[in-house]
């Protein structure tokens, strides 16, 4: 019981922190309104589930005879791997674009100069 409570408190603190970071990023215009609302909804859902975990537990056990903790673990791991993979791809694409852009620009500058000569 105590462990469940501690886990809930940790989840709520992290979610509140993420809500704040989400808000800051929205203000900085790093997220559009749609992204902002989706992430606000997701973190609010986590807070709700942490405050009343039994509601979800009862629903899933009654309807599907499965433990919510098991489902959440599987979903979390899959989500993490997918997010990590997508981020990696996006970073690699961006890195490639920046590298090509910088190299092309530097080359253009030196070729312009040598052509002038």
């Amino acid at each position: 019981m105590t462990i469940k409570l501690i886990l809930s408190v940790i989840a709520i603190i992290i979610s509140l922190m993420m809500l704040y970071i989400n808000h800051v990023n929205y203000k900085k215009k790093l997220l559009n309104k749609f992204n902002y609302l989706i992430w606000t909804f997701i973190w609010s859902l986590v807070i709700g589930a942490s405050l009343r975990p039994k509601i979800i537990d009862i629903y899933f056990i009654n309807n599907y005879q499965i433990d919510i903790f098991y489902i959440l673990s599987v979903i979390s791991i899959i989500t993490l791997i997918i997010l990590y993979y997508l981020n990696l791809i996006k970073i690699n694409i961006l890195e490639k674009k920046i590298n090509n852009l910088i190299r092309a620009e530097s080359l253009k500058n030196v070729l312009d100069k040598t052509d002038e000569k």
Binding site: I98, S106, V110, L111
Partner: protein
């Protein structure tokens, strides 16, 4: 210093104007002048690729009649080498040689590398450090381990897979093209060696003197292990 026969050898060689000497540099204001002073006596096509140095490297380079490409951000050694390759292709050079900007290589070793490249029609010429015993024990052991792992995987004895002093014929460019970038940008030399070996390029190794400065850091153990993983990866997937 070069002896008379070597100087004669240079003068008799017409192909020197078909070779581009590329020097990737980052914060090398102390060494770049002496490197350029040495090399520009013998080669006229020299390209310095500055990786957004924060010191006076660019000002030092501008004192010499060389090509200078300046990256707006530090892209790492690997991308600088790609810039040099692009430049060499645009300017239709036949050969491309790389030398480190920290002054650890000598001009006459570069000449030896270049002479071997086109006189004997090699695809790739790599200079290997013959004074390995001057390195500290940790680095010596690391180099020997790398040599042996390379031999085990690629069935070819390459004495210094990571040597910064190397030259190649641009006709093998597609065979040796390297993708090391980001955190492993220093592995470009090793990747070129691995690709050339896999694609059965005609590789020559010649002994060179290496001046090991106090500032020479080399790789740490984690980078060494990472390089070993990459060597295995390149063997399987390249």
């Amino acid at each position: 210093m070069l002896n008379n026969s070597q100087c004669m050898q240079i003068k008799s060689t017409k192909n020197y104007n078909r070779i581009l000497i590329a020097i990737p540099a980052y914060n090398e204001q102390k060494n770049i002048s002496s490197v350029l002073k040495d090399i520009s006596k013998y080669f006229k096509n020299i390209l310095v690729i500055d990786n957004n140095s924060q010191d006076h490297t660019i000002e030092e380079v501008k004192k010499f009649p060389v090509f200078l490409i300046s990256h707006k951000y530090n892209l790492g050694k690997s991308e600088s080498m790609k810039t040099a390759l692009e430049f060499a292709k645009i300017k239709k050079f036949k050969y491309l040689a790389f030398i480190d900007a920290d002054g650890q290589h000598k001009a006459n070793d570069l000449i030896k590398v270049c002479n071997n490249l086109y006189k004997n029609n090699y695809d790739l010429v790599i200079g290997y450090r013959k004074n390995l015993q001057k390195l500290n024990l940790k680095k010596r052991i690391g180099t020997i381990i790398l040599q042996n792992i390379f031999y085990l995987l690629y069935q070819k004895k390459i004495l210094d897979i990571q040597s910064g002093l190397r030259a190649f014929n641009l006709s093998i460019e597609k065979k040796i093209y390297w993708y090391s970038t980001g955190i492993n940008h220093y592995f470009a030399d090793a990747e070129i060696t691995c690709n050339a070996t896999i694609n059965k390029c005609n590789i020559c190794q010649i002994p060179i003197e290496t001046l090991i400065s106090e500032n020479y850091k080399g790789m740490n153990i984690i980078q060494g292990l990472y390089l070993i993983i990459m060597i295995i990866y390149w063997r399987i997937f390249n």
